[in-house]
Symmetry: C2
Subunit: 596 residues, 2 copies
């Protein structure tokens, strides 16, 4: 299995031509993100991803993690890699310099994180969760909490977790029962069990900071009675040194389909009198804080979908160029590399074009987040935040569904060898399969998109996005040639389908909420396909502009061809999805439960 | 994890209403397949599948098979189950009574085999390969070979294999190098290595009959120089008793993503002077014999897709009815079983409707095969054989692609629990993932459909199928109510899309073979979706007829609702696929290899 090679030219193209790195670098606080600096950072990240993390991907899959008496042992090499990772300053790349971060824009951080996901998704989860915890503390923690914990989390010398799920409380956070009782010193005693805690226990860092959703005495029922508590594995003394072990333990590690190197812990708090915790933010406001962590995590899981897809594509491509089998249709009688067979090309192009669409959309959203956070103009911030809010469920939901399919296609390109574990293609499918589930299933993302992001504002944010898509359509119409005509035709159908589906949802959401909800996932897929098509169209237009400016080369031609493939093979599905959104409810809801 | 419960009522509905068991039972040699007898057989098979095979499914997955010094040990319980399986006469259910079979129609055999696949796909592969070997011998073996081997293979006391693939010869059989040299006594010495040999070695039976594709001295190059040789694990004396061990051995067993209980062997022949083999059929005619085995196997792998989908659906449904999580949209504030949530219903209906479409199509094709084999009228035989030939790649290709998606959806219904191996949902995905690869990948099936089944006869067989679909459309138009109107609307678009795509293929195949080949898999999917829609429409019409005849019940209502779901959620994709078939080639073929 070939090691991961970061697609630096593709990344640079998207950063500059689609996401507007130049404009992001003009935002307050982003001044250091010059093109040269970013290029150097990406090159160094690519080296680390390819040389250190990628070779450990299969090692981690085979060895997995082991739990003995509450002590979790990571796979060989992970400890040393993690040390290099934090020594290199990678963990805090996008964090506030006030806490030791590098202060780079989220856009640059997204590109770097894509590399970690591609190279070794299981490894990358540790940092992802640590950064989520840091973000929640940054937003909601007290000054003392920030001072005590943020520098460690930003550096990565301590890691963080999200403790949300309980056996009876999965997608339904309102069912959480974990409880926290106040002590006289202002701290809390925490009791309860949490499941599916990624990196809940490990041997990579000297301390683990658990952020735990729990209920204080007398809290309201449901999600409005959840509070966020900070519960360190080792208590921290006032001078910042580590104190005694807290009353919490890893009960077991799950035996999962994939991401074997990511320890998924069952955590028990308070078996011995109560785990010491500290309230983060106000009582009963835990959900909001958790959403901060979760939104960052959802975008990051979308990047996992992108990263795994890229890795699966690279591996399938390498195999397709090497594997000699069968003769060319209409060609000579000698065997050729399978990349020459039309169906293998179709599979590779299907993977490649969706990878490029996802990358463009991810970086586009990351740039919008930077603008939403840092732009001096409030209206500009708001406009961009609305775009980000609209797109985050698409990035999480659509990217990860794509990743499962793309990893599966990657196996298919390998034929029988793909089914043999030693080949490594199956691992990508096993790893990808969690991404549509955790941090909110695809159904939850689709529900978020439908109700909070489209219905709540009467379709305004989506309408704004569609208006921008129509500007791109107009540009396509001005562009000569069969490729642009094909892209225009499919994209026009796609935008119309999205508008039709969204109008239906807005019109019927109130009086037929169950019927509209049937269309949530088809709508999410439609939105993903069309948004991806928008990005591919912009990519083709940018390539044409650069070619016209005298920079014509095969890379830029490839962008146009790939956009055309996407139009006729991916966007072509859009009208069918609109049909399902607008007509699909009676068939889905009419059966009684006993008729299943 | 619940054990498998055979869906006997669904099966009976399809057997009688779609596949026409009554007409099949009137065919010469099928007279014993009365409704009562078939019902009794299915009930007994259901018991064996649920009580014996199903509990071993997870056992086999966990234990896997082990190979030590060429000896393969099957998982615990498999030996005893296999003994019961052959003692019950299940292996030869559809075989010729002249060789000890039960002589039941292929239609009945298909329903019974579906159960084995659902209950324990890895177990069922042994019998599938044995029956393939028996069929090849029946067609091409000498009288002596038949007398010596068929009774044992039909009984299952000896098992069979297909030895085709070599490291350099996967989809391309022309690259096979295994060679056979004649001995003076008329036998052959065989030399070479074969890979991916299912049940190539095991401890279930006293002998294993390998059918091996090899080249005789001076054979032409490519597929026209392949001969089929019968190579027993233990040589057989003239009196039928077992003689010395042959010169062949299992080198190793592959470490696969799934079907862990099915030993996938690397076989080495002739390390010690040559394995003794016997030519089956004429020299250099091995490909034709192999196609007999392969066509039967392709249909059977389609049944695997159906069976795994049914099993995944049953497990997801059981979970959705048990798992209480979240409150109902627009309902009370109490938590409900997740089956009430619209998106969970959508997933379950998506699984259920495709399972029903696949079952109907599979049994329809099995019945057509019975007619093609046994009908007294040659024109009727020919017409049905053309239908079977057209549909076999669809059954293999579309069912198995569905199975991967349905098994994945089954995991999704389980949420986080689905990713934990102990839940058992992930096994279905791991097991299903081989089905799109072995016995010819989806790309190979699509190529077979496009070139041999559609292009070669200028679209005649497909046109005949479409004409029958249009008869069903006319019946739908005569049926009152919103459900039938919806089914008609989507099916009409589907048939038109299929006709458009097929016309394009027929018109352009000669002058643009590479471009047309890009659309092969989309065409296969389109054909599957529309053929499945045809079956669902016929199912709805039959349910309406039975209801109108005074048998109205919720089961029959359910058939109509499920057909409507299929129309708006599955058939809706058909026009988009026709778009891809007719427009998708430029984007797929324009890139140079270096541009990937």
């Amino acid at each position: 299995m070939a090691e991961y090679l970061a697609p630096l030219r593709d990344m640079a193209f998207v950063l500059h031509e689609i996401a507007g790195l130049g404009r992001v670098a003009q935002l307050p606080g982003c001044e250091e993100a010059s093109a040269d600096v970013v290029e150097a950072i990406l090159a160094e990240a690519a080296r680390f991803a390819g040389a250190v993390l990628s070779p450990l991907n299969r090692v981690g899959d085979r060895a997995g993690t082991r739990c003995h008496d509450g002590v979790v042992t990571m796979p060989p090499g992970f400890g040393e890699a993690y040390r290099q990772f934090i020594d290199g300053g990678w963990n805090g790349l996008g964090c506030d310099p006030a806490h030791g971060g590098q202060g780079l824009p989220g856009l640059v951080s997204a590109a770097v994180q894509e590399m970690w996901k591609s190279a070794n998704m299981a490894f990358s989860l540790c940092s992802m969760l640590t950064l989520g915890a840091a973000e929640a503390l940054e937003r909601f923690g007290s000054a003392e909490q920030k001072a005590m914990f943020l520098p460690k989390l930003v550096a990565g010398s301590w890691t963080g977790t999200m403790n949300i799920t309980e056996p009876q409380a999965g997608s339904d956070l309102g069912a959480i029962r974990c409880r926290a009782e106040p002590r006289v010193d202002g701290s809390y005693k925490l009791f309860g069990q949490k499941i599916f805690i990624s990196y809940g226990e490990h041997d990579l860092a000297e301390n683990i900071i658990h952020l735990v959703l729990a209920r204080l005495p007398g809290a309201p029922e449901g999600v409005k009675g959840l509070s966020l508590l900070l519960v360190p594995k080792f208590l921290v003394e006032a001078d910042g040194t580590l104190g005694p072990r807290n009353d919490l333990r890893c009960v077991s590690i799950e035996h999962k389909l994939g991401i074997h190197a990511s320890p998924t812990a069952v955590m028990s708090f308070g078996d011995d009198g109560g785990a010491t915790g500290h309230l983060v933010g106000p009582a009963n406001a835990g959900l909001e804080a958790m959403f901060v962590m979760m939104n960052a995590a959802r975008f990051a899981v979308g990047l996992e979908g992108l990263g795994l897809s890229e890795r699966a594509y690279q591996q399938a491509l390498a195999h397709a160029k090497e594997r000699v089998q069968g003769r060319e249709i209409g060609g000579a009688a000698t065997a050729v590399p399978i990349v020459r067979h039309p169906d293998v090309r179709r599979m590779l192009m299907s993977m490649k074009s969706r990878v490029e669409a996802m990358r463009a959309l991810a970086y586009f959203v990351a740039a919008a987040q930077d603008v939403a956070t840092r732009h001096p103009d409030a209206a500009e911030r708001q406009r961009n935040q609305a775009c980000v809010d609209l797109m985050v469920p698409v990035v999480k939901g659509w990217f990860t569904e794509n990743a499962v399919d793309i990893a599966s296609l990657g196996m298919q390109v390998h034929g029988g060898m793909g089914y043999i574990e030693e080949t490594g293609a199956a691992q990508h499918l096993r790893d990808a399969r969690i991404t549509t589930i955790y941090e909110g299933t695809t159904g939850i993302q689709a529900s978020d998109l439908l109700w909070r992001k489209i219905h709540r504002d009467g379709g305004a944010a989506l309408g704004a996005a569609c208006a921008r898509m129509r500007q791109t359509l107009a540009e396509l119409e001005q562009s000569a040639g069969a490729d642009f005509a094909a892209i225009h035709a499919a994209f026009a159908h796609g935008v119309a389908a999205l508008e039709e589906a969204a109008a239906f949802v807005v019109a019927h959401a109130t009086q037929d909420s169950r019927g509209v909800a049937v269309g949530a996932v088809p709508l999410l897929n439609l939105m993903g396909i069309v948004s991806g098509g928008w990005m591919m169209a912009r990519s083709a237009l940018a390539a044409r502009r650069k070619s016209d400016a005298g920079n014509a080369d095969s890379f830029l031609e490839g962008k146009i061809v790939t956009a055309r493939f996407y139009a006729d093979h991916v966007l072509a599905a859009a009208p069918g999805l609109a049909w399902t959104v607008t007509r699909g409810s009676p068939g889905a809801l009419a059966l009684g439960e006993e008729q299943f």
